[in-house]
Structure formats: C-alpha cells, structure tokens
C-alpha cells in the first residue's frame, strides 16, 4: 500500500487506515503462501525465501512512502515489493521466469525490482542494499527532491561491514534514509544472537550517529505510527534514522528448509505473535467485523491465485532476451 500523501500514521489511527494495513498484510501473506505452494508444486525454479510472519514490517513501513520514495530490499523481499506498490502479476511472472515478469525472467525471486514505484530491487547479497540505499538518498538530495530512501535488511546483515560504512555515511551527509532492520532472530540456519555481540543493532546505529527507534514489528499499527513520525522528520531534513523491528519468521530459511533445528515451543510462541491475527483483533474492537476481514483474506488469496494462474500461462522469454540488457557498448549479439 502506497498512500498519495504519506500521511503520518502517528496522529490517531482510524479504521480505514488500519484496514488498508490489514489488506496489505493479508496480500503479502497470500502472495507468500501461493508462492510456496507453487514452489512445492514445481511451478517455480530456483530458491524461494518467504516472509510469512513478517508482514507487519513491510506494511507498516511502506504505508508511509510515496511512489518516488526509493526502497532497497534483500533476499526476502516479496513483502517489501508488494507493500511498495509492485503488482502481483509481474511478480509471479518473475518468480516463474516468464517474459511477463518484472525483469523479463532474468532475476527471479531474489531480484524483483519495480523502478516505476521506487522499488530499486531485492538483493541476493546480505547487506548489499545498504550502500545502494545511501547512494540513492544522496542522489535524491542532490537532485533537490524531498523523497526518502528506505533500506530493508535482516538482523544477519548487521554483522557485515557495509552496515558500519553505510550508517556512518548517511549520518555524515545527513541523508534522507531510513534503515529498517527486520529482526526475525535468525540468519539462515543460525540464531542471530549466537553470532552477534554487543547490545544490539540500535546501539550500533547510535554509535554511528544514526538515531534509532525500536518497535514491535508484529504490531503493524505501531510500526506505521513510528515510521510516520520518522519519515516526516527525515523528509523535513532530520537526517537518517534506524528502525529496529522485532518480528518472527514462521518458515525455514528457504521454502525447502524445514528448520528442524528450531525449538518447536519457540516457533509456537512466535506464531502466536502473528501480526495479522493481532490487527484483526484490533479491527474488531474498532468495529470492523470478522466477516469483513475474512473477505479481505479471501480476496487476497483469489488475487494471488489469479496472478499465479496468469503467470503460469505467460510466455517464456525468447532466447534472445538472454543477450539483452547487458550493456550498450560491447554487448554480445544473439545468434539464432
């Protein structure tokens, strides 16, 4: 969901806004579930990283962004793309390697991009989006825009060098960039806490001159409110900020990873913190019925199923496409 006006969510949530957040989350959930089903059914090649359980972060952050705000994402980026305004048809097309995909089938799940809505691309390299986001912010500032750049990354990425370099850089040049650490507690097959020293990502950010805010990433209203405030500040010239959003990944690292090593009790507890269920309860209190929520869920499932069907019927890219988009000068030509 991308609002026209980047309304700061902080100033009293109304039911309409909460419903939009709910819709974004259930669309992400439906996308991921549909993608997993397609992957298990052999419709999709390559690895698949889904973000089930983490929908609150993508939805809450992107509700505060305009189309000309830029976003860099990571390997687990479907939710970010959808929330930023990407279309499921072209996303499924890309997942399935079809010509109809955002990247004509050249990128796949880990490289979805939609520059038309400011989605500058997922990334197969952990932390790879950090310097790109700060550069985008620097470019925007130079061009006199008041758009912001948002950088989504996982807790695992905070152990890579670009974290230090990028945050120092952003603070130094006072760049309009929001760093979002989507902290699901795990990095691939390892608990992040077991490979991370010190008091945490917010402290790291602050030591680099970037103010930080912690939020429960599974409370989408809280994310929305915090990001609303923060993005308004960044847009007004406050400089960078880091949002540390605690969340939980329901699945294994990839859709073929059963994550058998995780403590089942911990997984149960994590799932109990479902951001969608939580918002549903809030909506109920605000007078939005369960039936209305169910309708959104059903609609989202149908939408994603339709996109899956469309993508499955889409054409494969022609061989010549493999030779396009490399470079202008010195490109190889395709020979039939």
């Amino acid at each position: 969901m991308t609002t026209d006006n980047a309304t700061p969510g902080g100033a009293g949530h109304n039911a309409a806004r909460l419903k939009e957040l709910f819709r974004t989350m259930v669309r992400i959930r439906a996308f991921e579930e549909t993608a997993m089903a397609a992957h298990q059914n052999g419709e999709m090649p390559g690895p698949l990283h889904v973000s089930i359980g983490q929908e609150g972060v993508a939805a809450g952050v992107c509700a505060n962004l305009r189309d000309d705000d830029r976003l860099t994402s990571n390997h687990r980026g479907h939710g970010h793309a959808l929330a930023k305004g990407a279309q499921p048809d072209a996303m499924f097309g890309e997942l399935f390697g079809r010509e109809s995909g955002y990247c004509k089938g050249k990128g796949g799940s880990m490289h979805i991009a939609d520059f038309s809505v400011g989605m500058l691309g997922a990334n197969g390299v952990v932390g790879g989006g950090i310097p790109i986001a700060v550069g985008a912010a620097q470019g925007l500032k130079m061009l006199g825009s008041n758009a912001v750049a948002v950088c989504m990354f996982g807790d695992g990425a905070a152990n890579r060098g670009p974290f230090l370099e990028g945050l120092n850089w952003a603070a130094l040049y006072k760049l309009p960039v929001l760093f979002v650490c989507e902290d699901n507690g795990v990095a691939a097959f390892t608990a992040t806490a077991s490979v991370t020293a010190g008091p945490g990502v917010s402290a790291r950010a602050e030591s680099l001159g970037v103010p930080a805010t912690g939020v429960d990433g599974n409370d989408v209203a809280a994310v929305d409110a915090a990001v609303g405030r923060i993005v308004a500040g960044i847009r007004a010239g406050s400089g960078p900020h880091l949002l540390h959003a605690k969340t939980f990944r329901w699945t294994g690292h990839t859709s073929t990873d059963a994550a058998a090593w995780r403590d089942p009790a911990e997984v149960e507890a994590g799932k109990a913190r479902c951001p969608i269920a939580r918002l549903r309860a809030t909506l109920f209190e605000a007078g939005v019925s369960g039936a209305e929520c169910d309708a959104m869920v059903t609609e989202a499932a149908a939408e994603m199923q339709a996109s899956r069907t469309t993508a499955n019927a889409a054409a494969w890219p022609a061989g010549a496409v493999a030779y396009d988009d490399v470079q202008d000068t010195g490109a190889m030509k395709w020979q039939a």
Binding site: G46, G97, G105, H111, G124, V125, P317
Partner: protein, 327 residues
C-alpha cells in the same frame, strides 16, 4: 574394512577427505556460516559433534573477516579451511584474499605461511541467477600466490582436498556445486592427488578437448556423441587450473593437431584463452590445424530456465564446436 572403497557422492567424498585430515591433524579447523549445522551443502555434516565448537566455527555473516581471520589463524600456525558457502560471496572478501592471503608470503620475504584452503562452491546451480552462479576461476590464475583446484569427480574431490589441506600454499578450492551428487569410489584411506596432473577422460587421435569443473559431464556426453560420429577425441580434465598440465595438453595436441577448450565460465577472458595461447606458442601455430574455445556468452547468468539453457554450454554445442575444429 581399511582399503576398501565406498561408492559415495562428490559431496560426501569431500566430507570424508576433510574428516580424515581433521582427525590426523589437530591444527586443521573449519570456519564459515552455518558450518556447525553441517554447512549449507551438508559438506560438514556431523563435524560439530565430533570436533566441537572450537574447530567447527559457525561465524557471523562477515565474509571479510571469515577470510581474513582464516589468514590470521594460519599465521600463528593453525590450518584453517575457510568455507565461503557460495563463490559469489567471496566478492565481499576480496581484499583479504587478493591483497592479503595471496601476497603475505611474498611481501614478507617468506616469513608467512598462509596455509589456508578457501572452499568456494561455484557455478550454475538450478536457476540461482546472476549473484549465485558465477564461475570466475580464471581470475585467480592471473593472481600470483595461489593454487587453484577445480575437480569434477568424487575421487578427485577427495584426493585434491587432501592435497589442499596438506599444502602450505593458499589453495582456492572450487567445489563444483552442480556436481555434488555425482558418485565415485573413494578409498578408506584417501591419498593426495598432486596438483597439475590432468585426468584422461578418453584417448583419441582426432582432436584434443580440454575441460574442468562442472562442464566435465557435458564434455563426457559430447565425446561419446563424437565417437559415434567417427571423431575420436582425446579428452583431458585439468582438475587444477593452477598449476595446470601444460605437458599433457601439449603432447595431446601434438598428436591430434586440434584443440578445443570447453568451460562453463564466460568464454571471453576465461582460462580457455590461456590454454590456447600457451599451446599455440609452445607448438607453433603452423603445427596446429585448429585452436578453439567454447564457453558461455558474455552475459550475467539469467534466472529463467530457458534463458539459463540458452547460455549454458551443452553437449550439443560442444559437439558443434568440435566439428567446427575438424574442418
């Protein structure tokens, strides 16, 4: 049961080799992401149980430090196996590899012994796209200070890993990740295989085909097709590209008069150029009828299956290139 060989996959062959060397030499240890859980590819399965967290070190996602700490630990006398998970991530650790590991021995006039093995599973593997499929082994032939192993069989994976672990040189070990599942016979006691000795895949008199790493099965198929068509290829798997078996290739081309180098990597700037240029100079162009290369076109690796297939070097393309060399 000592001395009896077992039929195992290339992945398991490598695992057995490291296991044997770690049991024999306490200075050998492994560092990399997720290795305590057996590694991304299961190549260290059960190691953590046997060797514990001191010698099977699961690390943060800090490639620069995985590489650089491996070097530092070697400089005080341990023998690290630096596991890089997927080759493409080595790009996050190139200063440590190129400016430090490859150069310390030389810069310090021989005082340093950077006895590390850097394992980097590489190549195309099931539509992993541009950032998880690269084959840049050629780069490192151009980098003084390192040796380069590029096995393609379970036997060679085992024997070359043993050599690599025992070597005092930094060894860049390119695990062929598309071939984890190919099987071979690995003996109970794995003997080292010397670097720089090619493996003969087939003898023939019409044409020399040189290959290595993950393209070997495709070349194997192609050579059978060629044989059916009456073209008898002399086929060599280099197994290591630095050092590489110049003598064997030169002897073969002297016999056949024709050379085709086939590799999975991009043809332009690939190691095939080095092989051709070396052999042409050694034998003299006038003594050669054809010297050709085949590799991928100069494009990043695309995701979609038909696109990936489009740029793959297939048995059919190898057969066609071989036939073009016969005219």
């Amino acid at each position: 049961m000592a001395g009896v060989s077992a039929r195992v996959t290339l992945n398991e062959a490598g695992r057995l080799a490291v296991l044997q060397e770690m049991r024999a030499d306490k200075r050998v240890w492994v560092l990399g992401e997720d290795v305590a859980r057996g590694g991304l590819w299961g190549q260290y399965r059960d190691f953590h149980d046997e060797f514990g967290a001191e010698r099977i070190v699961s690390t943060p996602i800090s490639e620069s430090t995985i590489m650089g700490a491996g070097l530092g630990a070697a400089l005080v006398g341990t023998r690290p196996i630096i596991e890089m998970r997927i080759f493409d991530f080595v790009m996050c650790a190139m200063d440590e590899l190129v400016n430090q590991i490859a150069k310390v021995r030389y810069m310090f006039g021989g005082q340093a012994t950077p006895a590390v093995v850097v394992r980097m599973p590489h190549g195309m593997w099931r539509n992993s796209a541009a950032q998880h499929s690269q084959m840049l082994e050629a780069w490192f032939a151009h980098l003084p200070g390192v040796t380069i192993a590029t096995p393609s069989t379970a036997e060679d994976q085992a024997g070359l890993l043993v050599t690599a672990i025992r070597s005092d040189d930094p060894v860049l070990f390119f695990d062929p990740k598309d071939l984890w599942g190919v099987e071979g016979d690995v003996p109970a006691v794995i003997e080292p295989i010397p670097f720089g000795k090619a493996r003969v895949m087939r003898e023939g008199s019409d044409l020399t085909i040189v290959t290595w790493s993950a393209l070997t099965p495709q070349v194997g198929e192609a050579m059978e097709t060629l044989a059916k068509d009456g073209i008898k290829a002399d086929v060599l798997d280099l197994r290591t590209i630095w050092p590489w078996d110049i003598d064997a290739v030169a002897a073969s081309v002297k016999k056949t008069g024709r050379l085709l180098v086939a590799h999975e990597a991009v043809e332009v700037g690939g190691f095939g150029g080095e092989v051709v240029a070396t052999i042409v100079d050694r034998l003299g162009p006038q003594n050669i009828k054809a010297a050709k290369r085949i590799g991928a076109p100069r494009v990043p690796v695309p995701f979609s299956p038909p696109l990936e297939n489009e740029i793959r070097v297939t048995p059919e393309k190898i057969v066609a290139a071989a036939k073009a060399a016969m005219v």
